[in-house]
């Protein structure tokens, strides 16, 4: 049987070291990330700043998922969890009208594999008078609702997703929250 030389052993150990560090980056960091909780308790009776000056009062009993929340001066996102239901709001600079904003969101939804919009869009408005459009979509194993608002050079995109049972139970609270957008 051929003996492994010292140089070959060093070479193998070096290669194993490189692979170990790569594995640490690709799998170790996500594992650490997964091991830490992402949800934070938040007060549900005061407005939460999403970004670009846009606020929303979270639904009763919702938690804040910090992995999907990135506030900012010109744009921002927030992700709430209402039990197993995902309630996300994104604020972005936008040059266009409400119809164009709704078309863009619908396009992005249907471009995701397995997603389909399911109904005609309905007009919706917030308590502050912001006009918007809302609709529904389905995804494998889950359903969803979306709503779009446009104002002050920004678009506000709301997406809600979960299984039909959970959605039915939480939608009234979430829609009440969406109406507080300002």
């Amino acid at each position: 049987m051929a003996r492994i030389s010292r140089r070959q052993l060093t070479n193998v150990l070096g290669a194993v070291g490189v692979v170990a560090i790569l594995g640490g980056l690709a799998f170790g960091l996500p594992a650490i990330d997964q091991s830490l909780p992402a949800e934070r308790q938040i007060p549900d009776d005061e407005p939460y700043l999403i970004g670009a000056g846009v606020t929303v009062v979270p639904p009763a009993g919702a938690t804040l998922d910090v992995t999907g929340t990135r506030p900012g001066d010109s744009e921002g996102t927030v992700l709430f969890r209402v039990g197993p239901v995902r309630y996300a709001i994104a604020v972005r600079p936008f040059r266009g009208d409400l119809t164009a904003a709704a078309d863009q969101l619908r396009q992005r939804i249907v471009e995701t594999t397995g997603y389909q919009v399911t109904s005609a869009q309905l007009k919706v408005s917030t308590a502050g008078g912001l006009a918007g459009l809302q609709g529904g979509y389905t995804a494998p194993g889950r359903g969803g609702r979306y709503a779009v608002f446009v104002g002050d050079g920004h678009t506000i995109e709301v997406t809600i997703s979960g299984n039909d049972l959970d959605l039915g139970r939480t939608l009234p609270r979430i829609e009440a929250s969406t109406r507080t957008l300002r």
Binding site: N11, V18, L22, A26, A38, V66, R70
Partner: protein
């Protein structure tokens, strides 16, 4: 500094080669899956971005490969370095970067992650993943890394591969975010913005700096190990710091996304690392050029190389100037002959042999026949430099207008 060719039979006897090949295969598979998703959703936009960024890679590749004029790196190792950047470093950086940014949000706050997440997470994961590419080259072909400049070239090539793959991902991401279907306009805007305005001082330069550190660690045997490790760590930290500065929410805060913000970003965050790293690369390049030119000078044979050619051969700009002068005075054939003479002289400097001398004499005879016996630089490099600067300014202005028209700046 000695030259040896890298041969496939030699490579396959190196255990690390097989490990690296397996890692590249996994990275290639993952990136192929991603590309498949892109082509399924946005075939026209994805094809456009692949073609545009592949074309952009060509001049970068040529410049990087030309850096080590006297001892060009083997093409197969350059391809390996490029593939590491484009397939392995990217594959690792996508989940690693997301996870680290999430950790910033979890251990800090969403506000901290929004402001500094990209500045802390991306450089940390990406610079480590790219530097490992140069380490992999050292493990696979140690004999091919025999100067700091070699580390610079391999590091830059890993960075170039990463930059091109990342730019394609960003371009297709911009198409998805636009929500207007399979459109090429977001690809063009991304190409102009990331490919040109922020392209030259991003990953290629960061990789070059980290590669210089690994090169120093490997070749500077006259120094103690702690010193060499310290320099390598400093170089990688320098690459990381430059990347952090580039991604940091400094300067642009409060200025929006307009032209002024873009100009300030380029001047304050891009230019200092660009200048510093270019100065370092130039110093490393000059040091190697002086070594080889010194070897040619000791031959003391004007048939092989004249005093004027010794000065010309030291710098890429003067070599190019000599070729232009030959073209202007004696036509295209003379330009080609000067290029061949310069190559032959470089080979003679790196590997002196009767065959190498004969090759130089053959090109000298050809130049004499063409009436241009000496390959020296022309008298007007300043005028050429002024033209280059003017063309660059005009190019940036055109880019600016194009970006503004596309709504990208």
């Amino acid at each position: 500094m000695t030259v040896s060719a890298v041969r496939t039979p030699a490579l396959i006897r190196v255990p690390a080669f097989w490990v690296m090949l397996a890692v590249l295969a996994v990275g290639g598979l993952r990136m192929a899956q991603l590309a498949g998703q892109f082509f399924t959703s946005y075939p026209k936009a994805t094809a456009t971005s692949v073609v545009l960024f592949a074309l952009l890679a060509v001049p970068f590749w040529l410049v990087v490969a030309e850096l080590d004029f006297f001892e060009p790196e083997p093409a197969k190792l350059l391809v390996l370095a490029f593939a590491w950047g484009g397939l392995v470093a990217t594959t690792v950086s996508i989940p690693g970067g997301v996870a680290l940014e999430n950790l910033v949000a979890k251990l800090g706050s969403p506000q901290l992650a929004a402001g500094w997440g990209a500045a802390l997470a991306a450089p940390t994961v990406e610079e480590i993943a790219k530097t490992l590419g140069v380490v992999a080259i050292v493990l696979v072909a140690r004999s091919q890394v025999n100067s700091v400049l070699d580390g610079v070239v391999y590091g830059a090539m890993v960075g170039l591969g990463f930059q091109i793959a990342e730019d394609i991902v960003f371009a297709v991401g911009a198409v998805a975010l636009a929500g207007q279907g399979d459109q090429v306009q977001p690809v063009i805007a991304t190409f102009l913005l990331r490919g040109f305005l922020s392209g030259i001082w991003s990953h290629t330069l960061f990789g070059a700096l980290a590669g210089a550190g690994i090169g120093y660690l490997v070749v500077s045997r006259e120094r103690g190990r702690p010193h060499r490790v310290g320099v390598a760590v400093l170089a990688v930290l320098g690459a990381w710091g430059s990347h952090v500065l580039w991604n940091a929410p400094l300067v642009v805060d409060g200025l929006g996304n307009g032209a002024l913000a873009l100009l300030l970003v380029l001047l304050v965050k891009g230019l200092p690392p660009l200048v510093l790293i270019l100065l370092l690369v130039r110093r490393v390049h000059d040091s190697e050029a002086n070594y080889y030119v010194g070897r040619l000078a000791r031959l003391d044979d004007p048939e092989l190389i004249t005093e004027g050619e010794l000065a010309t051969l030291r710098s890429g700009a003067r070599r190019a100037s000599a070729r232009r002068l030959a073209a202007a005075g004696a036509g295209r054939a003379a330009k080609t002959a000067v290029r061949r003479l310069q190559r032959a002289q470089a080979r003679l400097a790196a590997s002196p042999s009767p065959q190498a001398e004969a090759a130089v004499r053959e090109q000298r005879a050809e130049l004499r026949r063409l009436g241009h016996p000496e390959a020296v630089a022309g008298p007007g490099p300043r005028r050429h430099r002024a033209w280059t600067i003017a063309a660059t300014v005009v190019g940036i202005a055109v880019l600016w207008v194009a970006l503004s028209a596309l709504g990208g700046a």
